[in-house]
């Protein structure tokens, strides 16, 4: 067993353990646990028993097993980056909506007619908007609809 095999197998074992711990803490769902476990097991097995996997390299018209591993890894990485980017965008939108709802609700509460202890008096021209207190709910609903349509 070469040094690089030892390093890869150790890393795979460590990640298997991390995946199991995350699953036990309910940070991963069943399907996610299964996918990640399969990824780390496969990595360990390919590293430990490369000869067993050489049989599938030929039919895929690849020169070496390493090429297959690298290409598979890149595809997997691309899928995960895409998924993460999508999740991040969704979280960004949700966070923005939440912050805006809080801001509008708090601002509406501080206006005349919604007295707050210790709140300072507002100047007339600001307090007396023609339509009265703005619809924080309307704004939230509109944004939610906008996000649904996206």
């Amino acid at each position: 067993m070469t040094a690089i095999q030892v390093v890869v197998v150790a890393a795979a074992c460590l990640m298997l353990y991390g995946t199991y711990v995350a699953f036990r803490r309910s940070e991963l769902r069943g399907a996610e646990f299964a996918v990640w476990t399969a990824v780390w097991l496969l990595l360990g097995l390919v590293t430990l028993f490369p000869d067993r996997f050489r049989a599938i390299v030929g039919p895929l018209r690849m020169a070496r097993l390493l090429d297959l591993v690298v290409i598979s890894g890149m595809i997997l990485l691309g899928v995960f980056v895409f998924h993460l980017n999508r999740q991040l965008r969704r979280q960004d939108k949700r966070l923005e909506l939440l912050v805006r709802r809080l801001a509008v609700a708090e601002s509406a509460d501080q206006r005349p007619g919604h007295p707050q202890p210790g709140a300072e008096e507002q100047v007339d021209d600001v307090a007396g908007d023609p339509a009265g207190a703005p619809g924080g709910e309307d704004l939230a609903l509109r944004e939610a609809r906008s996000q649904e349509s996206q």
């Binding site: 805006r100 809080l102 100047v123």
Partner: protein, 216 residues
């Protein structure tokens, strides 16, 4: 954001009636400031505070939605750092109230008073916009703008950062809004706040994306 030292002077200088607008309501969006911006502004305007910093585009959305829901007929947006002069507001609002325009965009002169990096960036981005969208704007990046209530309903943007100004113009071009540029004078207090080179690259990327979407 973090304009506690300047926001009071800006708000105090805004006239309480502007041209045909007999009544002016002030809304300050405090985008997660760490200083006393909200406290200082609270005595002078309605303050809407983001608990965390979301970015300029998001802050403008909040302010404009609040104004829209409050029944505003015309909405003007300006920075709180004092670089825009409230004295320019009447000239900005006049084309809207006279029905000549749906959106007015302040236009800064690229003089030596503007920091050189900003001058190059603004010129480059404006030219890029003009080439990509077949427009003839002198300044696509100035934050001092005004629009009618109907125009805002068309303009509603998705950008949360500094691309908001460009996105407004893209929507205006797509929906055939009448846009008028109004020359103004700007005062530069702080060289290290506001847009950076990275923001400029981001804006350019967004511009290309919107152009491609238009083609598609």
């Amino acid at each position: 954001m973090n304009e506690g030292s300047r926001v009071a002077a800006v708000l105090d200088a805004i006239p309480r009636s502007i041209g045909a607008c007999a009544r002016v309501s002030l809304i300050v969006v405090d985008d997660g400031s760490a200083d006393d911006t909200a406290t200082v502004a609270a005595n002078r305007a309605r303050v809407v505070s983001h608990v965390i910093n979301l970015g300029k585009g998001a802050a403008l959305t909040t302010g404009c939605e609040v104004a829209h829901d409050a029944g505003a007929d015309l909405i003007a947006v300006m920075d709180a750092d004092g670089q825009h002069r409230p004295e320019d507001l009447p000239a900005l609002v006049e084309p809207l109230s006279s029905g000549r325009a749906d959106l007015t965009v302040a236009c800064r002169s690229l003089s030596r008073e503007m920091p050189w990096a900003m001058r190059i960036g603004n010129w480059g981005l404006s030219e890029a916009f003009n080439v990509l969208f077949g427009a003839r704007f002198q300044d696509t990046q100035c934050g001092l703008r005004a629009f009618t209530r109907d125009a805002y309903e068309v303009l509603r943007w998705r950008s949360t950062g500094y691309s908001v100004e460009t996105e407004m113009l893209v929507h205006a071009a797509r929906r055939g809004l009448r846009v008028v540029e109004v020359p103004i004078t700007t005062i530069y207090h702080d060289r290290y706040k506001g847009t950076t080179v990275f923001d400029g690259v981001h804006i350019l990327g967004d511009m290309l994306r919107w152009r491609l979407q238009q083609v598609g």
